[in-house]
Symmetry: C2
Subunit: 340 residues, 2 copies
């Protein structure tokens, strides 16, 4: 039992004197070695779909820091690409998406989403081969609503167009989400088969939703994805991350059969404890505080350790690490979390 990665043991409900730790976007631009690697591949999508490069990016932070888990380097917009929508990145801007394909056409492609993204499976295999046995390997996908916001809006925005669409075209949205559920199941099942030991569902834009939209477009789709995985015999634990919806995190933990709930920076400490009574939790240090550093950073880390450390807890940020974060601040936090 002790040979299992600590991260997986906590996902299974174990408490630890010191929580396992990893950071969202730990493979990324704050690392000079990442910037050097990334410079060798001008196109971001091609970079994500190059298993050697993506595996190298995934492993870079594992060599430098004592993280307990590694998350495959990929992007949540690979799925719409696999379903036939054009996706590209322009330097210094967010993602851009072409016109959304016909729903029937996308539906035809959902069963081949994993195959279309087999490069991500190759990355997972390469990472696993390069990762010590006591480190866990996480696969992931964007959750359907979050992916749909990009598909509907054609890129990044405040999601008000997508939320309006949810009100004006509820049936069309439900049909799109169903297609995304199917594609996500196929994609995540492929990642599990390729060696992912946990699967994270990023609902990055759960914020600004009413409780009734949250029910129909977040809770329902996450339930359907996990049911779909289980129906295919995939028992890999799932971490759900409904970012920006702390007031609905307890309801989410009760209703969605995730192994653990990711909490964002806005989750109060007491809320985390209430969710912990139901499920292990993961989170939630403010990336702005990590970047700022100093004694306030130590104090907040200590608060998480003292308060959330009492239940099953995976230390993480509440959102992705910022590109201009000093590496010394990452080291400062990791020293405190690991006690080394």
């Amino acid at each position: 039992m002790q040979a299992d990665p600590k991260f997986l043991r906590v996902l299974a409900g174990e408490k630890q004197a010191r929580p396992p730790v990893w950071f969202m976007r730990q493979a990324g631009r704050y690392l000079p070695e990442y910037r050097a690697l990334r410079a060798s591949a001008p196109d971001f999508i091609a970079f994500c779909l190059n298993p050697e490069m993506a595996a190298e990016a995934t492993l870079q932070p594992m060599r430098r820091f004592p993280f307990d888990a590694s998350i495959v380097f990929a992007d949540i917009l690979l799925l719409p690409k696999a379903l036939g929508q054009k996706v590209w990145f322009e330097a210094g801007e967010g993602p851009k998406l072409g016109e959304m394909p016909e729903l029937a056409r996308m539906k035809d492609l959902t069963g081949q989403a994993g195959e279309a993204l087999s490069a991500v499976g190759e990355t997972l295999k390469l990472v696993r081969a390069g990762l010590p046995a006591d480190k866990a390997l996480i696969g992931f996908a964007g959750a359907p609503w979050t992916v749909a916001t990009y598909m509907i809006e054609g890129g990044s925005s405040d999601r008000s167009k997508a939320r309006s669409y949810a009100y004006t075209n509820p049936d069309d949205l439900a049909a799109l989400l169903d297609v995304l559920v199917e594609g996500t199941v196929d994609y995540l099942a492929m990642q599990a088969a390729a060696g992912a030991q946990a699967l994270m569902l990023f609902e990055s834009w759960a914020e600004a939703l009413t409780d009734s939209l949250f029910e129909t477009i977040v809770i329902r789709t996450h339930q359907a994805i996990i049911a779909g995985l289980r129906a295919r015999g995939v028992q890999t634990p799932v971490i759900g991350f409904p970012r920006g919806a702390p007031a609905l995190a307890e309801r989410y933990a009760v209703k969605v059969p995730v192994a653990a709930v990711g909490l964002d920076t806005t989750a109060p400490l007491g809320l985390g404890q209430r969710v912990q009574a139901l499920k292990p939790i993961q989170g939630a240090l403010d990336p702005l505080l990590l970047r700022a550093g100093g004694p306030a950073l130590d104090a907040r880390v200590e608060e998480y350790l003292q308060t959330w450390g009492e239940g099953p807890y995976i230390f993480n940020l509440g959102h992705g690490i910022l590109p201009d974060t000093p590496i010394a601040h990452v080291e400062q936090v990791l020293a405190r979390v690991t006690g080394k």
Copy 2:
């Protein structure tokens, strides 16, 4: 007692078979008569500070709709202007602010904030004179943190610069917030003296804060403002609106001696009921749903009436009405809320 506006009776804790109703930004661009009035004054700040025009804007929706309360037409950035920071609006863009004055200079001006903004008091007097006795008149101010985000960032943004400042310069921020507390007390006391029967504190950017920042920059400053008003003998009820922080709304209701708590669109129905056990609540229809209209709009309004109508409740939006909202949708909601 029955002669008091229904709105004020609910603020005092009474339940009503049908809640009183008003809409944030009910005086605004969705009304053709507002657009016509506004076109006659090219500068937005000058428009706000012209009592005849601002009073006319305030009264327009009261003539057209059965709203129970009227909120003085003004802007939360009048206060930084009164404290010596340049504020202007450019067509089609958000507000712009010049360099922040020295703190000591602003501090010297806090005691004259009400006097500097006496035009808003004149507006209140004109509105009161034009308003039936059964309609309530609300004054307001931006809450210190929200106003500070604009002062620090020089305009609208995602507030990440201001939140970083809270981490890197906590003492400077605390000093700025203290100055804003003093200025806000003076400004709101003037509004109460001019006839405002309730005062609303708009913490429009309470979102994305950790619980510990929320304590120091939201709860503490709101407590200080209400204490400052009471110390000056101003007993006018205050509505606090910590927008975007539903997970902290109960804590806010317990700790801040507001008469009522405004809830935003992300407040779950069950949360509203829990806050109602402590204080009257106000909110929280999604302006995007109001704009979308249709049966989904009726269904959501009915949910609020059925669920929140059981406790003291003021029907409102969860955020300001959108400029392109059809007037027929406003009428549709008001018919359902008032039963007429």
